[in-house]
């Protein structure tokens, strides 16, 4: 883990900005960055981006021997990996305390809170159960990894569907996705971790960015460190399943109380978005439209960098004030050549309705179960 | 043996012979000696062409020599008077030469200069034109 240097003037200026009621990127205290969830073509794989922080989550399943103490329960395994892709200061396959911290919080939030019905994962008591493995890969670390990772875990678990199983006598048949519709995982409730940054012990800021996180956890010169990161794990029924504090101790309790109220409506918002995006992903799959990560490749990200999500922004700076005519031009010439057309030498564009015989539930006709296993 | 590529100032032989010049003579001889010695050493690798060829290509790693950028430290409307003073010191030259208030426009100036030169050649009496130069302080 290489050293990340923070200058005094950054610390001083940010503390001043926060104490005067503003934030560097123009958000107010309880406003979060833009949340986008995009699903891949397989079940249980999704990329969640919270502002510029991006996390990839992938769920996979296999049949294993259950634990002796829990013979009739499936196993859930969560693994967080931070590669040098997240930021230059991370080194390859090196367990940093950040990965341990994230792993521990996610396990508390998704395993200990019993949000997944593990009994439904049991195939044969004491012999065969499903083991779900959630792999979290941090793609870009722009602050608030815990919230982004937890949304990714929740979305991928909720989106994941495991193959159907039929038992006849002592023989067990696992059907491929094409033979029988896969079974979604059963979630009792939808917990999400919400993170807050605490500045000089009385200001609560939600969804801290990278610089806000590093400033509030850095020890300021005039003695000790009055900042910290408070993580609240809550589900849509406002039940609390996780509370974690890193950094300075809190001595006024209404701060935690305020955090819980904020977390409640933020969590409601997130869970609704997760459910909505899974539902419309399923409808797209019914309509046989090929949904794929390649849809997140657009040219408007570069434009948005210049306009919407600037890292330093005035509170009510909105981009539309620049004469709309310029914007139209920018957008217009983008639409004419959305994709470099002369490279589509392959007649079928990915978005067209023409479907190449693909894995997945869509084509029933000529499949024999042998040849098309996952 | 290739002469020294750079023309070196050499003291005449007679001066070197003098008694008090003994030590400098030995130094120069030692220098010559080790230059030749070196040359002999790598002569099979270093060709004359290598020794005399001067590259026409100058690699430059920085953009500041390519695009003429203004200085990076600026201050406006009295924020940092010291920097503003430095800025005024550097930029006036351009301003003055840039939009200097010209009471005589350039074309008129050029026409006069031509007339001036032709008149000077015809009359060939320089005295009339020395007067202006004296006025310049």
């Amino acid at each position: 883990m290489r050293e990340v240097y923070l200058s005094n003037c950054e610390k001083g200026f940010l503390q001043k900005v926060i104490s005067e009621g503003h934030r560097l990127d123009g958000r107010n205290y309880n406003e979060s960055r833009k949340l986008e969830i995009s699903f891949g073509s397989e079940y249980g794989s999704c990329i969640v981006s919270l502002g510029e922080t991006k996390v990839l989550a992938q769920v996979s399943c296999e049949v294993v021997q259950p634990k002796q103490i829990r013979p009739n329960e499936g196993i859930l395994y969560i693994n967080v990996e931070i590669s040098p892709m997240a930021a230059p200061q991370f080194e390859a396959n090196r367990q940093t305390d950040l990965t341990v911290y994230l792993n521990r919080l996610l396990e508390k939030c998704y395993k200990d809170s019993k949000c997944i019905d593990l009994e439904s994962l049991c195939i044969v008591v004491e012999e065969k159960v499903w083991s779900l493995r959630v792999d979290i890969k941090v793609l870009n670390h722009e602050g608030n990894l815990i919230e982004c990772a937890s949304i990714a875990t929740l979305a991928s678990l909720a989106h994941f569907k495991r193959p159907d199983v039929t038992r006849s006598g002592d023989k067990v048949i696992i059907h491929t996705l094409i033979e029988k519709d896969p079974i979604p995982t059963v979630l009792y409730h939808y917990p999400v971790c919400i993170a807050f940054a605490i500045f000089s012990n009385d200001i609560l800021v939600s969804d801290p960015s990278f610089i806000e996180e590093s400033v509030c956890t850095s020890s300021s010169e005039e003695g000790g460190n009055k900042g910290g990161i408070l993580v609240v794990g809550m589900n849509q029924y406002k039940e609390l399943c996780l509370l974690d504090l890193m950094g300075a101790a809190i001595y006024n309790s209404n701060l935690v109380h305020k955090a819980l109220i904020n977390a409640a409506d933020r969590c409601k918002e997130i869970v609704d978005l997760v459910k909505k995006s899974i539902v419309n992903n399923d409808t797209l799959r019914q309509k046989r439209v090929k949904k794929n990560f390649s849809d997140i490749i657009t040219t408007e990200h570069m434009l948005s960098l210049s306009k919407r999500d600037l890292s330093i922004c005035l509170k009510n700076y909105n981009v539309d004030d620049i004469e709309m005519s310029q914007d139209e031009e920018m957008e217009d010439d983008e639409d004419q050549n959305p994709e470099p057309s002369k490279y589509d030498v392959v007649p079928s564009l990915p978005q067209t309705a023409e479907i190449i015989a693909q894995k997945g539930a869509s084509s029933w006709i000529e499949i024999s179960s042998g040849s098309e296993e996952d | 043996m290739a002469g020294l590529s750079r023309k070196k100032l050499q003291l005449p032989k007679s001066v070197l012979e003098m008694k008090f010049m003994k030590r400098t003579k030995e130094r120069i001889e030692k220098e010559l000696e080790n230059i030749h010695g070196h040359e002999g050493l790598y002569s099979n690798i270093i060709t004359n062409e290598m020794r005399t060829a001067t590259g026409n290509y100058i690699p430059e790693a920085s953009f500041i020599y390519c695009e003429n950028l203004i200085d990076g430290r600026l201050s406006f409307k009295g924020m940092n008077p010291e920097i503003e003073r430095l800025m005024d010191l550097e930029t006036p030259k351009e301003e003055e030469s840039g939009e200097m208030q010209k009471d005589v426009s350039d074309e008129v100036l050029v026409k006069n200069m031509n007339k001036f030169k032709t008149r000077k050649r015809q009359s060939l009496t320089p005295s009339k034109y020395n007067v202006p130069s004296k006025k310049k302080k």
Binding site: Q58, S83, M302, D344, V346 | -
Partner: protein, 219 residues
């Protein structure tokens, strides 16, 4: 083997690319070739521990991450191919005693993953501003039962093909940089595949130039 190959009937999968997809990396690119999607991040030159430094050139470290978690030998194999290609492409001698890390994340694998990863690595290197000798393009093709060459095979064609050949060409004089193949094929099939892929690599280089021009006339 100067057989004339006209490039009209070549079939290359549609390619979509975006630069600067990751704000924290020095250079990043996400590329989709057909339905296979990869995301590559390049960080460098960075400082690395003493023992892994080398005096005359920078140390290149390539990390291939699959979607599923368990690291496998196949990843190490892909890493070594990508490292070997980048080693020749990057002018490492300009950044001695430093380290360059290339991290490849597989997002969708519908065939041709390694050639998509190689092309995406090249685009990420271009975005990172690291000095390079040349640009490289990876093309894959399959030899089916009847022996004729199918360029950029789809998933089915790849699984049912007799052999899969992958070639990486460099842009200076279209020389072969790396070649790897699976399955058995005849010598003549190899020759023809080589020529067809070399001709097809022009399309990829034109794609690179188009992406760079799209981004540079904005900046």
């Amino acid at each position: 083997m100067g057989v004339e190959i006209d490039t009209k009937e070549f079939k290359l999968k549609p390619m979509k690319c975006e630069f600067n997809f990751l704000s924290k990396s020095d250079g990043s690119a996400i590329l989709s070739q057909g339905e296979t999607v990869t995301l590559v991040s390049v960080n460098g030159p960075l400082d690395i521990k003493m023992q892994s430094q080398s005096i005359e050139k920078s140390t290149l470290e390539v990390l291939f991450c699959t979607k599923g978690g368990k690291p496998s030998v196949a990843d190490r194999y892909k890493e070594s191919i990508i490292r070997q290609t980048c080693e020749t492409a990057i002018l490492g001698s300009l950044y001695p005693r430093s380290g360059i890390t290339v991290t490849i994340q597989e997002l969708e694998d519908y065939g041709g993953l390694l050639s998509c990863a190689l092309n995406c690595t090249c685009l990420a290197l271009l975005n990172s501003g690291l000095a390079m000798r040349f640009v490289f393009a990876a093309i894959s093709c399959a030899v089916d039962e009847s022996g004729n060459i199918v360029l950029e095979p789809t998933q089915e064609q790849a699984t049912s093909a007799r052999a899969l050949l992958n070639f990486v060409f460099e842009s200076r004089n279209k020389d072969l940089l790396t070649g790897f193949s699976e399955g058995s094929y005849s010598e003549s099939a190899y020759e023809e595949a080589l020529e067809r892929c070399r001709a097809a690599s022009d399309l990829v280089f034109t794609f690179y130039r188009d992406i760079i021009s799209k981004y540079s006339n904005v900046i």
